[in-house]
């Protein structure tokens, strides 16, 4: 398990009798009961029977868990930059490199992004950074 020491978390999930692997559920009395409640609740409870972590550690061979379900507005802006086709593919280069390449090609990427990325690069690791230096898909593809 390359995602470091999460074996306990994995076993803990089995004891709770929830999904063993993301999305695949064993038909069980508990699940069918949940289905009933879902019908009553309506569309808000979308996943049936999967009460556990949407990204069980077992499936992730490298890269990191997206434990931050919230991300700040700065990360949001950077993700939009990642997805913009005009600047080319985002996978395989760091965001800063992609920004610099776009600037060199005369595509005028938003100037504030460079400052944002440089500041966070200087700031270093220390806990989860508010902004990631790699693109959205890095480590997951």
């Amino acid at each position: 398990m390359a995602s470091g020491g999460d074996i306990k978390g994995f076993y803990r999930q089995r004891k709770k009798n929830t999904t063993i692997s993301g999305g695949v559920t064993k038909p069980s009395a508990a699940a069918s009961k949940k289905k009933g409640t879902v019908a009553a609740k309506g569309p808000s409870a979308a996943s049936v029977g999967s009460g556990g972590d949407p990204q069980p550690p077992a499936l992730i061979s490298h890269g990191s868990l997206d434990v931050d379900k919230e991300y700040g507005p700065e990360e949001e802006v950077l993700r939009l930059f990642d997805m913009d086709m005009k600047y080319g593919p985002c996978l395989g280069v760091t965001r800063l490199e992609r920004w610099e390449r776009a600037a060199r090609l005369g595509l005028h990427p938003p100037a504030e992004l460079e400052g944002l990325l440089l500041r966070h690069r200087e700031a270093g690791g220390g806990g989860a950074p508010a902004v990631k230096l790699e693109c959205l898909w890095e480590g997951r593809i």
Binding site: M85, G88, V93
Partner: protein, 444 residues
């Protein structure tokens, strides 16, 4: 460089070898300290499309004024417009790594065809927004390969294909004017020596070295040899027995068989290098990396020759200028790959196409190994060379092609020396070529 002494003496004037000012333009082909970070080839394709599109857009209004340019996603049925993108050629017979997993072994032919074309091949145009299949007539798929960027005029049909009415490629790049050279200066091109292989006759190669260095012939021959300013060896200089390179343990006796060809080559190169500057390029069989651009052969391989400053180990492709005459060439992998995936009447036509497409190796990285650059596509031809050569071909061919803005390029296909015994001499004064043919055959 000091004048080269010529045997003879007796009051005859010493023949001095001519010199030419050399400048290597191999910088974009050097990998240096690029680090592979796990990127895929999308980056190099993006750079190719971006740069070529910027070259093609200014040409579009002159070609088809009044027509709008749109992206593939913005195509509307029946609306005539122009789209610019990268061509992908879907080929039925193209070998795919996935075939190993999907089909049973028995259906894969044991003999691989040399050319993978099939009448059912079709072309697809792709840009960042999407792809569209190209229908009809004007475009013969056999003339094109994956990786070319071009502009197409046409309209979308009801079944979703793009019906092509006209095609525009970037054309020959701008060329610096060729300087006027008043006296004859020759460059010798050799390729496919395959030293150590069974095909090469070592005596033939030794004759060539002796002739070029001026050790053969009478005064007239020697004075011709003194006009040779440079030798360019375009790839496949050694042939190491392939059976020994399969990764198993090699005994000392077999090790000898591996490095013996390189030692022999070094001895001959040292003789050459003492007399004049030599550029050596790696080829498919040489001990260099596999993917293009191939990096220069390591100087450690040539302990004798590399002590001279006239020995220059170059990349493949190789770009340089001599007395301001621009040269560009490869060891043949790009043209051979074009030959596998498209059709033309001769190799010179493939070479001409690569110049008109402004890309040395459009099939890289699709079918030709290539380094996944992220910040550039080094195979884009930015300025038109005066001489464009390609090594390791079957036969000697040469032609001059003209461009719309007065560009003029001498195309040369260099034959394999081990098979033909032919080296090419190019006169820089008028860009005329002739062969230097050596034979050790005693039958007349």
């Amino acid at each position: 460089m000091a004048a080269m002494e010529v045997d003879g003496g007796d009051g005859k004037p010493l023949l001095e070898r001519k010199q030419a000012f050399y400048r290597s333009l191999d910088d974009p082909f050097e990998i240096r300290d690029e680090k592979y970070k796990g990127q895929q080839y999308s980056q190099i394709y993006f750079m190719r499309l971006h740069n070529m599109r910027n070259l093609i857009y200014p040409l579009v209004p002159k070609w088809k004024p009044q027509l709008p340019v749109c992206t593939v996603l913005g195509l509307e049925e029946g609306k005539e417009c122009i789209i610019v993108g990268t061509i992908y050629k879907h080929m039925k017979l193209k070998p795919s790594i996935l075939d190993e997993y999907s089909k049973e072994r028995s259906t894969i032919p044991l003999v691989k065809p040399h050319n993978f074309m099939h009448p059912d091949d079709h072309l697809v145009l792709e840009d960042e927004s999407g792809r569209v299949k190209l229908g009809a007539s004007v475009l013969a798929p056999s003339d094109f390969v994956t990786g070319i960027v071009m502009a197409l005029h046409g309209k979308e049909t009801s079944d979703g294909d793009f019906f092509v009415q006209d095609v525009l490629v970037a054309g020959l790049p701008p060329q610096v004017e060729r300087p006027i050279i008043s006296d004859n200066k020759y460059v010798v091109f050799i390729s496919g020596l395959n030293v150590g292989g069974s095909m090469l006759n070592p005596l033939q190669f030794q004759l060539l070295v002796d002739h070029i260095t001026g050790h053969l012939g009478d005064d007239r021959e020697q004075s011709m040899a003194s006009q040779i300013v440079r030798v360019v060896i375009a790839g496949n200089s050694v042939e190491v027995p392939k059976g020994l390179l399969s990764g198993q343990m090699v005994t000392p006796k077999e090790q000898y068989k591996i490095f013996e060809p390189i030692k022999e080559l070094d001895i001959s190169l040292t003789q050459l290098v003492v007399a004049m500057p030599v550029d050596i390029m790696p080829g498919t069989n040489d001990p260099a990396n596999f993917s293009l651009p191939q990096q220069p052969l390591n100087r450690c391989l040539f302990p004798g020759a590399s002590t001279y400053n006239t020995f220059v180990s170059c990349t493949n492709p190789h770009s340089f200028e001599l007395d301001n005459v621009q040269f560009l060439g490869t060891s043949g992998q790009n043209i051979d790959d074009l030959g596998k995936y498209s059709d033309a009447k001769d190799k010179l036509e493939f070479m001409e196409r690569t110049l008109r497409w402004r890309h040395l190796a459009p099939t890289a990285p699709n079918t030709l190994g290539c380094y996944p650059f992220t910040d550039r596509d080094p195979f884009l031809i930015e300025s038109c060379p005066h001489v464009y050569f390609c090594g390791n071909q079957d036969k000697y061919e040469t032609r001059v092609i003209q461009g719309p803005e007065g560009q003029s390029v001498r195309l040369i296909c260099i034959p394999r020396f081990c098979e033909s015994g032919i080296a090419i001499m190019l006169n820089m004064r008028n860009l005329e070529c002739h062969t230097l043919s050596l034979s050790t055959n005693l039958d007349f």
